[in-house]
């Protein structure tokens, strides 16, 4: 009989394992409770998030990426510190005079660290420009789709009855349409009237709010049975005040976590649509259009293809990790669980202390 539990060293097997982790759990609980004594819910969540190593790394990387993307080539009228201009077709001329050949910077950054394309345009500047568009789409979708979702979900969860029925059937209708399909239709509609990241983002927001609406509705359905809602109503608060002042802050965990996931999927959706030709279009640059434009040149000029993809992955990955960290931070059941070894060590220490003290209070402490 094999016992594939994480620590099958002891012959007693499962039971002693469980007992150990039980001790570890109680210690862990005690530590956690002592740490968060007298802190508000928000503080506790923030503290937990700041301790989430993966999420913090991701947040740092994301901040660096955003800084790089926003400052390097400038934003709108604000000039950046990068020497090459991003979007114009004929602005950048290869100083070496070899328009087809490019070099990627190793330790020395060089003139064109990401290389140049066949027209001599600086790939770094173009990737930065594309990343700006993707970030705009991400942020706008994150804000707008979340807002739509919250309003729809909150109203239908709070009002229930007929309004709920109508709104949810409408949500079902939108859910029935595959996101990429309706995104492509809307993208075509928007891009035929001028390619613009902001417009595209608005269009995508009209598609992606559904999951948020469902989650917020579920949350509101359970929240509205709570006493504080009755208290607010007795105090004479209006429906909208109860909804957005009293109930919404209590649903903030679900909303924030879902927003990050929404943003990560929005950036992938935008790049995919742009790749297909239904998103941001030619004079303008997006990471998706860059890949679509350069994919045929992969064998000869791989750098053209690498960098835009890498930035998509980097941004989406960071957002996903932050979302994971936030989910852990907001989840009251989730404790920050140290490694098995750390738990064992803590249990060991506790045992020793208990043996040393050997007072009748141990049995009470064990509970």
């Amino acid at each position: 009989m094999t016992v594939p539990s994480p620590n099958p060293t002891t012959p007693e097997g499962v039971l002693s394992d469980d007992a150990q982790s039980e001790i570890g759990n109680s210690i862990e609980n005690a530590i956690e409770l002592k740490e968060v004594e007298g802190l508000s819910q928000g503080r506790i969540v923030l503290r937990r998030f700041l301790r989430h190593r993966g999420a913090m790394t991701a947040a740092t990387v994301l901040i660096l990426v955003v800084l790089l993307v926003t400052t390097s080539i400038g934003w709108g009228p604000i000039p950046g510190w990068w020497k090459w201009s991003p979007t114009q077709f004929d602005d950048v001329v290869n100083p070496g005079g070899s328009p087809t050949l490019s070099f990627s910077g190793g330790l020395t950054i060089g003139d064109h660290p990401f290389g140049q394309d066949n027209l001599g345009r600086d790939v770094f500047a173009r990737v930065m420009r594309g990343a700006q568009q993707s970030l705009i789409v991400m942020v706008v979708v994150g804000l707008l789709a979340t807002t739509i979702g919250i309003v729809m979900g909150a109203v239908s969860g709070f009002m229930r009855g007929r309004i709920d029925n109508i709104l949810m059937r409408f949500t079902d209708m939108v859910i029935t349409i595959p996101v990429i399909m309706i995104g492509a239709i809307l993208g075509r509609l928007v891009s035929s009237s001028g390619a613009n990241a902001f417009l595209l983002a608005v269009a995508l927001s009209l598609v992606t709010w559904t999951s948020m609406a469902r989650l917020v509705r579920a949350e509101f359905l359970s929240l509205r049975e709570r006493e504080f809602v009755d208290a607010a109503r007795v105090a004479g608060a209006s429906s909208s005040r109860i909804m957005f002042k009293h109930m919404l802050p209590n649903a903030v965990g679900v909303i924030i976590v879902n927003t990050t996931l929404l943003m990560a999927s929005a950036i992938l959706l935008e790049t995919a649509l742009s790749y297909l030709g239904f998103g941001i279009r030619s004079p303008n640059v997006s990471l998706g259009t860059l890949i679509a434009e350069y994919q045929t040149a992969f064998a000869t000029r791989p750098w053209l293809f690498w960098w835009p993809g890498l930035f998509i992955v980097l941004i989406a990955l960071c957002i996903n990790f932050i979302g994971d960290g936030l989910r852990d931070a907001f989840d009251p059941r989730q404790r920050r669980i140290p490694s098995k070894r750390a738990m064992d060590r803590a249990a060991e220490r506790a045992n020793r202390r208990r043996a040393a003290e050997a007072t009748p209070a141990t049995s009470a402490a064990g509970d």
Binding site: P6, M173, T176, Y275, I291, V313
Partner: protein, 547 residues
């Protein structure tokens, strides 16, 4: 899927369910009166139909807004431009307002209920949409079907393994990989695969020899991976590492020395050995190695399969798809029969182990036969030594028997399937991991352990089955989405399925095929939603279907 079928059977006629031989696992909770279920089903169908009709309205309006079928004529310089525009407006009925056109279109769709489908025609190539869908749907299912099954299977296995090794290096590795795969844009992955998977591998085939450094590197990576999966104390990890790395190195050296890739084959000996290995693994999982009868069943099935290799070679030249299916059924049946013949108090375990082993050995024999045509295939003039294809569904103009065609399909499917698996399986990993962890913390698992059950039984019988319930509610929806095809993957690999149909109709301002696309996907999705409700109610007795 099977559960949904039983659910339907119970809805329509409860008698046959009770007529089945009474075994301990037949559902004790019988759906008592069928009336509430029927009401529930009726209400669900009605509300779903309303939702679907509303969704078609939204899509139709959006398409009417976004598409401009007169675009090419407006910019044309033809002398009879006005007349052409006039003709097209009349042709497409553009003077009627869009909602009215939608109503007309819906009338045609309503004909589907009585078998008179009229989804309109494509104005670009004058074909009826039903005909377009008729060719697109099978092609898409061929592409995404295999990918979906492999992704679910692989995702569940990896997720379970990762949950059983929670907070280990392997678990963190899997979690990170899942996040990475989540964040990968599918078009990027597909192009990378095309370049490395197809062009790289085809170049490699010119001289299929591994350099010693490659062998060492891959063996070390393989060894590290295996020790992370198997886990345990350091001693055991070390042994696992050494054994698996040595095995990998030996296999690669053999493959390299014999240039196996140029003319791959397994042969009866390898099939026998692999079959015996599979027999042990399957028995260990399905019944436990303690169960001698199950072990002997699987071993005899494996040996029988290896022995049957010779006679089957004489049968295979006349192979057809139907014959392969029949042979597979015969294989499963004989596995079950052997298990039954070994008898014992718990025959079902032996029968199950025998059947699974039979499937594995049968698949090995099948793969071996396909490999036998590999050399002929890759040397044929159409393929010209570059067997892994990057676009399309078949090599044009290739002539050959069943096996060559099968191989041709495989070589065309391998890249898009891999791309789809990479993108989708991460979510199954996360779901199955989370769900198994949830289940493992339940009280009944503690009870099972306290009873003294072996950990295998606790994991496989008590935890694993319950962990699959949430997954059963996701998979039908994903299968429904499959009908929509993988729009991006189809585009990159030039696969003419549903996704291509949709993109093409969108690019050519052709509303009817796009609507046909949506009606298929939407219906599949709505049906899947209803199926999910019933599957959930059938699997989880805590959930009741009430009208």
């Amino acid at each position: 899927m099977a559960t949904s079928v039983t659910g339907q059977a119970a809805v329509e006629a409860p008698e046959p369910a009770s007529a089945t031989p009474a075994s301990p696992t037949t559902p004790r909770r019988r759906l008592r009166a069928s009336a509430p279920i029927l009401t529930f089903l009726g209400r669900r169908l009605l509300s779903s139909a309303i939702v679907l009709v509303g969704a078609t309205f939204i899509v139709y309006m959006l398409l009417a807004l976004a598409l401009d079928p007169l675009e090419d004529l407006r910019t044309s310089t033809a002398p009879n431009k006005e007349a052409l525009i006039e003709a097209r407006i009349r042709d497409l009925d553009l003077n009627t307002p869009a909602p009215v056109r939608w109503a007309k279109w819906l009338g045609g769709v309503a004909g589907c209920v009585v078998g008179q489908c009229d989804l309109g025609d494509s104005w670009v190539n004058r074909q009826p949409v039903t005909a377009l869908l008729g060719t697109a749907i099978p092609s898409t299912l061929q592409l995404v079907g295999a990918a979906a099954f492999i992704a679910v299977g692989l995702g569940v296995v990896v997720g379970i393994a990762s949950a059983l090794r929670q907070y280990s290096g392997f678990d963190y590795g899997v979690t990170f990989m899942a996040f990475l795969l989540y964040s990968l844009p599918s078009f990027w992955v597909a192009v990378l695969l095309k370049l490395w998977g197809a062009i790289g591998f085809n170049d490699f085939l010119r001289n299929p020899v591994f350099s010693p450094s490659t062998i060492v590197l891959i063996s070390v990576i393989g060894g590290l991976l295996w020790q992370a999966i198997v886990g345990g104390p350091w001693r055991r990890r070390g042994i696992t590492f050494l054994v698996s790395a040595a095995a990998t190195a030996a296999a690669m050296a053999f493959v390299s020395a014999t240039k196996w890739f140029l003319d791959p084959s397994l042969g009866p000996v390898a099939i026998g050995l692999l079959g015996i290995g599979a027999a042990f693994a399957i028995t260990a999982l399905a019944a436990g190695l303690r169960n001698r009868r199950a072990l002997y069943t699987s071993l005899s099935v494996a040996l029988l399969g290896a022995l049957l290799w010779w006679p089957l070679q004489f049968l295979f030249p006349y192979a057809t798809g139907l014959m392969i299916v029949l042979l597979a059924l015969v294989a499963i049946g004989s596995g079950v029969l052997i298990g039954w013949l070994f008898g014992g108090p718990d025959r079902r375990q032996s029968m199950r182990a025998g059947a699974i082993t039979a499937v594995v050995v049968g698949a090995l024999i099948f793969v071996d036969r396909v490999m036998q045509v590999w050399q002929v295939y890759s040397r044929s003039s159409r393929v010209a030594g570059r067997p892994i294809a990057t676009i399309g569904a078949e090599t044009p103009g290739l002539q050959g028997d069943f096996w060559v065609e099968t191989l041709d399909t495989f070589t065309h499917l391998v890249l898009p399937t891999t791309a789809l698996i990479l993108i989708t399986f991460a979510s199954y990993t996360r779901y199955s991991r989370a769900s198994l962890l949830e289940v493992m913390n339940q009280d009944y698992i503690r009870t099972a352990r306290a009873k003294g059950l072996p950990e295998r039984v606790v994991t496989v019988r008590h935890a694993f089955r319950n962990a699959l319930i949430p997954l059963a509610t996701i998979v039908p929806l994903d299968i429904a989405y499959l009908f929509g095809g993988a729009i991006i993957t189809e585009r990159i690999f030039a696969w003419s399925g549903m996704g291509t149909l949709f993109l093409h109709s969108l690019a050519t301002s052709d509303a009817n095929p796009a609507m046909g696309y949506f009606i298929v996907v939407g219906t599949a999705l709505v049906v899947a939603n209803i199926v999910v409700d019933f599957v959930y109610a059938a699997l989880d007795p805590r959930i009741r279907v009430n009208a």
